[in-house]
Subunit: 349 residues, 4 copies
């Protein structure tokens, strides 16, 4: 009963088959391989962006920091939420790859509003060289707390960013989950909503380790290539990244796996509704549930083999008396429904 | 007839099988997986280093620059040769990951001597804070021109480095080829020769994309972990790196594939001995041959499907009249002997 | 009637005389000059720190970022307040000089409490390599809003920082004003309270441009020297920095000028008490007053030649109708009392 | 008898008077002072560059690295000579301020030729993202060995740099000495010769500590301002920098002091011609002589109070037997002729 993270799960069989199939004979190294050409074509079509520059890296952090490094000057500040992966989960990689830019936090948790963004951006840079200058806006969709920005919300945020002459980057580590949950098209949620660059997460949703970075305007494409190489993120046997991404995007596999993960989480949430004392931080919108449970329930789940992280608490606290504790439960596409049902039954006691 | 680079070839079937086998159910992310424990044990045994800290990354550049970043202060200079991969092939990644350290070039080409190193290191740092300070020594084995540092040569270089209180790092992108060519043990060439940290290249010699970084003294292990994460090089589905490396090291597979690649290159060299006008830059010692050929011979090889890089020249020069041109020909473990023989026959005309 | 900043004022005649006196014949460059030896001796005596390493730079930002760069690792986060100069007034210089460390904000404004610090520091670093690691604590005394940390407050903060094995740095751009206001000794407020490194601001309080950086533990002295040179902050004609600092510290001149500036501000505050509608953000404790005034009063002051900054507002807003606006008024040691009285009279209308 | 460096000497009385005169009442901080406006006008006139952006910093290293940081991308390499101050005397400040760019050495010593530059620049960047990319060219005039680039030499180098779409920066730490020696106009040697940015050294030639950075094309002016602040090199009491530079440039004082320093060195050289065993590395062209002398002569000079640096040797070597040793002798504008004569007499024995 594994709900720790969607990066605990396996790769999808179709993705693994593609990797095995790519392992035949010789192919050009460093990104000039044949599968990569097909990946670029797929991305351009899916996102309605015929000029888009498309690149592959192996980790979500690499995607974020190389994209932001390309969009940000060292004397600027990036606007993101307090729960943003770039703010709390990347060990200062954004500062490193931007050459020392700052992060300015907008909102209280995992989502920002257009209005909240405007209030924070407006006063920046009004005293000449003294403070950090306005830089890009970065939002994560789905968010780190498993919520979605709707097409309209994204468009409103893009408008604010562009009003300050700054680009909007979308951390799409779980982009498939957002698209699947919203029922929109990938292009609606990005290109048409005014997103300037996006990452397409593969690792958490069916791949071994691959993320695409997409710049809808290719003006900075060459700079990105130099930054990727200088960041040691250019693969020599790049075909193994491309093969994964091709299989992942082909025929909408990425949206299928995302929809499955989301459905698993919905099933989990329905089950948890029946658990005494369970209270959601907010109703799950994609593949992650944040739910508060009595300590006794946590102890029973732990004892019975339920794996998930407590949020803002150590497992050591479970041994102590006290009130309910918040947990994060993430469902990946491969999670058997029976495991969910067993988990819920265990929670109910 | 593919001699462009050993990173053009496929992964070894045993490595690929291990990756497929790892793709089952859930495993802990970010390096705490079970295969990684076994990799660490294997490396410690093979290198006779029971305390060694062992880490995996996906590219050779990442291995080099994260290792050197950990060993180097930003105000120091790293001593390497003019042909060192870190000097000419990493787009300033060493400068980036060290926070702005310098590279000081020793020797004329791909190898340094202990005496040559001493002459360059001695005058550094004799004027207080003004110049760059002495930093680590970095050698590549086999070198970028396909030669080996013997155990004695490494030990002599280590002695000079340590005499200046600096560590010795060995870029082992082709470490297996060196060990196989020298007929020594991995421990002889590293731990016992005074090497402080080494990378074990997997990508060019049978893997999809994985390199190990080994610190024989674990004092800087935690710093390395932070640097790896901050460099965006920590894989969430790390088990796929570990599975590759485990299969690669198990039962000496890495030395088998390296020996095969070296043998292919020896066969190629013997064949080239019979080609009119062929002159070796130096006799090949591992899996790469640097050989000068008449332009007419190059044209015939190109026309017949022979793939390799001209060294210090563009293919455009082949269309012009002129003297012989130097080529690099690299053999990977998977290269069929028949392809070599066909290539040689074509070269002989 | 100049209240814009204490960096608008002139140098003290004794400081200028020392600079002129230093301009005779030859002296050793790069910090090995005779006046610097005397400066070091003076600082060690004044701060009761016989081992202290003492360095001079020309700007307050340089003092802060070179000191913090020496104390902070790139993967750490520095704890400071939202109004800290390092957070809002140094254009990402701290991020640049630390190699990409983060700033984590403690408290709501210009001061942190020991308890508030503990609450923010405690949860940092509880998830291994993923987040920024705990780094130094930085407080400014007097603060950016003109308040003082008492000896007890500093000691309590130092205790928290040390409890997490982190050093405490004090930005002393206006250290003299704090010491003068508190009536303590410089050693009480720093060495004995547990401060690990401090800057002694000269520029705002009687010098042309010089700040001292003091490490009470000299373990990192050589690293600081390398960082200063690499930051391009080592003066060749260093004697002109040393001459300023010597005159400034000699016979307590720095505390005299600070006391004068504080007294000017107290006189200003007393005067403002009589101005209709004047409301202090908090009672001035040193040489800066933050006071809210009706727009009409601001307009009258502006028209009559009163110079000061609106806080969080542009002068353009004065032309519009609306409520009172907050202003910052800073008094330097050279400010004539008559100017203050004239200013207050003008404010009273 | 002080020949150690031109940074051992005092400031010119006119410069010091200007500093004293600037110390009156209040002035705007951070570079918006009245003297700075006059400095900008002076520079534009002297260099025939009506659009030039002009900035002041306090050290020569700051001028170099902030200028190069503005002109260089982190993945590029700067072309300079092996003796360049940026290569050997700035403790990796160029790497730090460029974000990790490399330096590629051209020529054997202190001067590069246009042809030599072309040969080194041409092969750079011919393998895509793998190596460092071509960056700016940096020359020092007068050079670190006291020689001049003529107007024609500069123009030829500029042509090569521009042919590769790269700018030419001139490190003018001793620009006055070059202009005075060559008898050309400042505009001839810079603007009209194709120099894109230049520093005007004040510190070594009559100031306390000030250097100007001039961009003839102001396109990067704002970026420079942000970099200066972020580098902690923006002075709050900037008027004291501006006052120095104004007095220094006014009525050609900087060329007068430079001519005096050059004349002192010529007198020294003439004297050394009569010293047995004296051999010049090359005939002095400006204010520095590099001369080889028998050890016995060095010992006599040291014993008699002659101060200068041995070049590539420690003073400790003087105690040993051996051949002649090379010395650097630098004359500053304030050096009394009688001291030179006394020194020469001592050398003659």
């Amino acid at each position: 009963m594994q709900f720790r993270s969607d990066n605990y799960g396996p790769a999808h069989p179709k993705v693994m088959e593609a990797v095995v199939a790519a392992n035949s004979g010789y192919d050009v190294s460093y990104g000039a391989d044949a599968p990569m050409e097909r990946v670029t074509a797929l991305v351009r079509e899916i996102f309605g962006a015929p000029e888009a520059a498309v690149y592959l890296v192996a980790t979500g952090t690499a995607a974020n920091v190389l994209a932001l490094g390309t969009l940000t000057q060292p004397w600027q500040t990036v606007f993101c939420t307090p729960h943003a992966h770039i703010a709390v989960d990347e060990c200062n990689a954004p500062e490193f790859f931007t050459g020392g830019a700052k992060l300015t936090l907008v909102g209280e948790a995992d989502k920002m509003s257009a209005e909240g963004l405007r209030e924070v951006m407006a006063p920046v840079e009004n005293r000449g060289v003294h403070g950090a200058q306005r830089g890009p806006v970065s939002i994560t969709n789905t968010t780190e707390l498993g919520r979605c920005y709707s097409v309209d919300e994204v468009a409103a945020i893009a408008k604010v960013a562009h009003g300050f002459d700054q680009p909007l980057y979308m951390d799409g580590a779980r982009l498939g989950n957002a698209v699947a949950a919203l029922g929109c098209s990938p292009a609606d949620l990005t290109t048409r909503a005014g997103v300037d660059a996006v990452s397409i997460g593969g690792t958490k949703n069916g791949c071994l380790g691959v993320e695409a970075v997409v710049f809808f305007d290719p003006a900075k494409a060459w700079e990105f290539e130099l930054r990727r190489k200088r960041g040691a993120h250019l693969f020599s046997k790049h075909r193994f990244l491309a093969a994964q991404m091709e299989a992942y995007l082909l025929d909408g596999l990425w949206l299928e796996t995302a929809a499955e993960a989301n459905a698993r989480c919905a099933r989990l949430a329905e089950g948890l509704d029946t658990v005494p004392g369970a209270e959601f931080l907010h109703r799950p919108e994609a593949n992650a549930a944040f739910v508060s449970l009595p300590r006794e329930t946590h102890r029973r789940l732990r004892a019975g083999g339920g794996h998930y992280y407590l949020w803002d608490a150590d497992d050591a606290e479970l041994a102590q008396d006290g009130g309910p504790l918040l947990a994060r439960m993430v469902c990946d596409w491969s999670l058997p429904e029976s495991e969910i049902d067993r988990f819920v039954a265990l929670a109910r006691g």
